[in-house]
């Protein structure tokens, strides 16, 4: 028996691939969410880990419940935090910053988180302006002590 010879050229129709591709394109375009998450990076201290630091190399920052800020016992308005921090880091006159100074930040439990972020951001800005590594530590604020 002989098979009839096929002479027709058999090809897969490709005219619609473009359409299919565009369909998929529209799907991915509509579902794509570009990642634009921002954040202030910080490394928390490990619990129980105690590092002895000279008290002279710590600058205490308190954020009270009404949002007022105290740096080293002195009331500082929000927009002056950066300048005050720079003054502390450079000791007022020297050009070179004191890279050993740590800012220890304590915030009242009843303070709004947004205020704390503003203060934190301003401290960070001071470090960035002087171009020294950030040393900001977040102190826990237990329920027992309220200020």
């Amino acid at each position: 028996m002989r098979r009839p010879k096929r002479s027709e050229s058999s090809s897969i129709p490709t005219a619609s691939t473009g359409d299919i591709a565009f369909l998929l394109l529209v799907f991915f375009m509509t579902t794509t969410i570009f990642n634009n998450e921002l954040g202030l990076q910080i490394v928390l201290p490990e619990k129980g880990e105690t590092v002895k630091v000279k008290s002279s190399s710590i600058a205490h920052v308190y954020v009270a419940r009404d949002g007022s800020v105290k740096i080293e016992g002195k009331n500082v308005p929000i927009d002056k935090i950066e300048d005050t921090a720079i003054d502390l880091l450079t000791k007022g006159h020297t050009v070179k910053a004191d890279t050993n100074l740590i800012f220890s930040m304590k915030t009242s439990r009843f303070c709004k988180y947004g205020v704390m972020i503003t203060v934190f951001d301003n401290l960070k800005k001071a470090f960035n302006t002087l171009n020294v590594p950030e040393k900001i530590s977040l102190k826990p604020s237990p329920i027992s002590e309220e200020f």
């Binding site: 490709t14 691939t17 473009g18 591709a21 565009f22 998929l24 394109l25 991915f28 375009m29 579902t31 794509t32 969410i33 570009f34 990642n35 634009n36 998450e37 921002l38 954040g39 202030l40 990076q41 910080i42 490394v43 928390l44 201290p45 490990e46 619990k47 954020v63 915030t107 009242s108 439990r109 009843f110 303070c111 709004k112 988180y113 947004g114 704390m116 972020i117 503003t118 934190f120 951001d121 960070k124 800005k125 960035n128 977040l138 826990p140 604020s141 329920i143």
Partner: protein
């Protein structure tokens, strides 16, 4: 004067490559697509100038709502669970960054307790989620 006739050739835009272009775009969008894994809470983020961009991968979120509700993986969890849940995630991925997305009007006490929980469970790489403040 004789005006030369413009030859009437068939004018066509070549369309043979549209499919290729489309596929190229598809590949781009497929690669950049990140499907949102969690819904999270409705949060009014605080603004900061020094915020840095987070990486696309290796970020775990904790949402803290205005009323102090904490949400992880779309479950409302008590504070005491936060540390264990995040420590489990950090164990799988050591370079994990925990992004704390807290509302700007929440009391700091709640956030403080979350930090306490995290540091007690050795989850130390934290990012405080913010919006970008235009200078």
């Amino acid at each position: 004067m004789e005006i030369k006739r413009i030859e009437k050739g068939s004018i066509e835009i070549p369309t043979a490559s549209t499919g290729d272009i489309a596929f190229l775009l598809i590949v781009f969008f497929m690669v950049t697509t990140v499907f949102r894994a969690e819904q999270g809470l409705r949060i009014n983020l605080p603004a900061a100038e020094n915020a840095k961009k987070l990486p696309n991968k290796g970020v775990a979120h904790i949402w803290i709502g205005e009323d102090g509700i904490i949400s992880i993986d779309d479950n409302i969890v008590p504070v005491s669970y936060v540390g264990i849940l995040q420590a489990r995630k950090a164990a799988e991925n050591p370079g994990l960054i925990t992004s704390v997305e807290a509302d700007k009007n929440v009391n700091y006490g709640v956030v403080n307790d979350v930090f306490d929980e995290l540091s007690a469970n050795k989850v130390l790489r934290i990012s405080l989620a913010t919006k970008k403040r235009r200078i």
